[in-house]
Symmetry: C2
Subunit: 333 residues, 2 copies
Amino acid sequence: MKLKDIGEFGFIDRIAPLGSIRSDGVIKGIGDDCAVLSLAEDNYLLVTTDMLVEKVHFLLEWISAEELGAKSLAVNLSDIAACGGKPLDAFISIAVPDHIEIEWLDGFYRGMAEMARGFDVNLLGGDTTRSAGHLVINVALTGMVHRTELLLRSTAKPGDALVLTGPLGASAASVDLLRHKRIFPEEVEAPLIQAHFSPRPHVHEGRFLARSGVTTAAIDVSDGLSSDLNHICEQSKVGARVYADKLPALPALLTAAQLMNKGPLKWILHGGEDYVLLATVKRESVNALLQEANKEGIVLTVIGEVTDTGNAELVKTDGTVNALFPRGWDHFK
Amino acid sequence: MKLKDIGEFGFIDRIAPLGSIRSDGVIKGIGDDCAVLSLAEDNYLLVTTDMLVEKVHFLLEWISAEELGAKSLAVNLSDIAACGGKPLDAFISIAVPDHIEIEWLDGFYRGMAEMARGFDVNLLGGDTTRSAGHLVINVALTGMVHRTELLLRSTAKPGDALVLTGPLGASAASVDLLRHKRIFPEEVEAPLIQAHFSPRPHVHEGRFLARSGVTTAAIDVSDGLSSDLNHICEQSKVGARVYADKLPALPALLTAAQLMNKGPLKWILHGGEDYVLLATVKRESVNALLQEANKEGIVLTVIGEVTDTGNAELVKTDGTVNALFPRGWDHFK
């Protein structure tokens, strides 16, 4: 049997039970954006790790050293953000093929350090090794969150509002555009390209949602809205209803869709690598939260609600309701 | 310029200054076996990470899934041991090529979980991704140590005794034997093969040394004695004198050397992957410590002393003294 037969998430289910050796201090093990460990004085330690593999996650012909360094840290910052935490210290492992120049690596670490500075994060070590094949990067990142502010995937409640902290689909549109070697006007291309190569992790948005006291659950949209919403549904044992006409997207994305003569919904629903946060918020508090967010320069969009059906659904613009299956990213399927 | 022009350690020196963004709570950043972060109540959090790359660190033809899983965790446990810590939680990233079977992965995690159980460590998550090339594993491991028991590389003092917690060279001898396709009697081969494929991390030895109160510095011997001793000399700004006739080695190693018609000293001094601890201990306390260790089933060997010369030296069996240069493992040189 191969990994493609059971998929990444099937495999995680398979190995998760093996790992629980000791339960003291472990608030959340496998299955959320971060592991959550209890510290003294009512703080939890968060730990997350992400691996980026050449030819799978990135192509060296497409991404610059600085962008790759920044993005390798950003995708981990996004996981800390999804747990409502403040990021602390990063540990970088890198397997380097012989053809890579030191100057490229300097750029990689420069890009990463700039991202780190933006979020007051240390780069504290790791492992540098040779690769006999592709370039592989692994970042492990710690963070901290007060136990009353921890955001998990498993605590959404029927009736909650579904909220996004930013637009969807731009990263997927950018990959589509590059794959088909399409060239569009600068004002269309630039914001899409930036979303894919220089994603901004929503750490401030995560802290805002966590501090608010009315956010019930959160996840970062890395695999794609359909997959990540289904993670919340499964782990919270709830359903969800999302309205197609409420899903936020960049104007450039809608223009690109027209120019490519296709609908934008596939990018928006299943594209992935959006690195915005999907949160559930107490219904009665959502309007006040949106106003409060605006004051801090954070744009929240209500895209639907949590239900008790056990399934994720999409309400199309014509009013028809369809099941919303997880069709986002799975490395192996 | 390529990595081979400056080596792994040259590269670490190059990137280390980039990473220090924030100093609160950081006791030790880049440059020791673990990063050390301060926790409440006089405990430090330790974090270490190691990447294992196919064709560089292991060959799938040689190592079983179970052995590779156990060893991937063991090399990280060894770093926590070198800091005197108690290991806590491991986070495993793995990039899996298409040809790998689920059954192989099950074996990998089974081996890792058995090693984890042996040291009361949780496997709490990580990242599973596809590889378009080789198999790559990254483990990030946390640990904890009371601030009075932390062991670093930078705190050895002239006059201290140099102590090893186990024999050297067996792993390197095993690789030599396999590379040359030599077949020796079972009693010679088995202990060498085991040292390479199933190393036992010296966590108990590390805790013993840390608790003793008389250990001044420690490092795990992963790159090779000559390299790791030089790390202590550089970081503690001391010298060291090691006696060739005091260096501990398995009887099987000496037999293998005879059978292969070569001296064993190259394996012992520069081989690496020994995963024993090299510690410095206050001279006046070393005899009492050796006796105490014996009671706990730990065999310590005094191999020399810390000096104020600033250089590592080897005293050969004929009494001649030579400089002991770091000729152990560097991925790029």
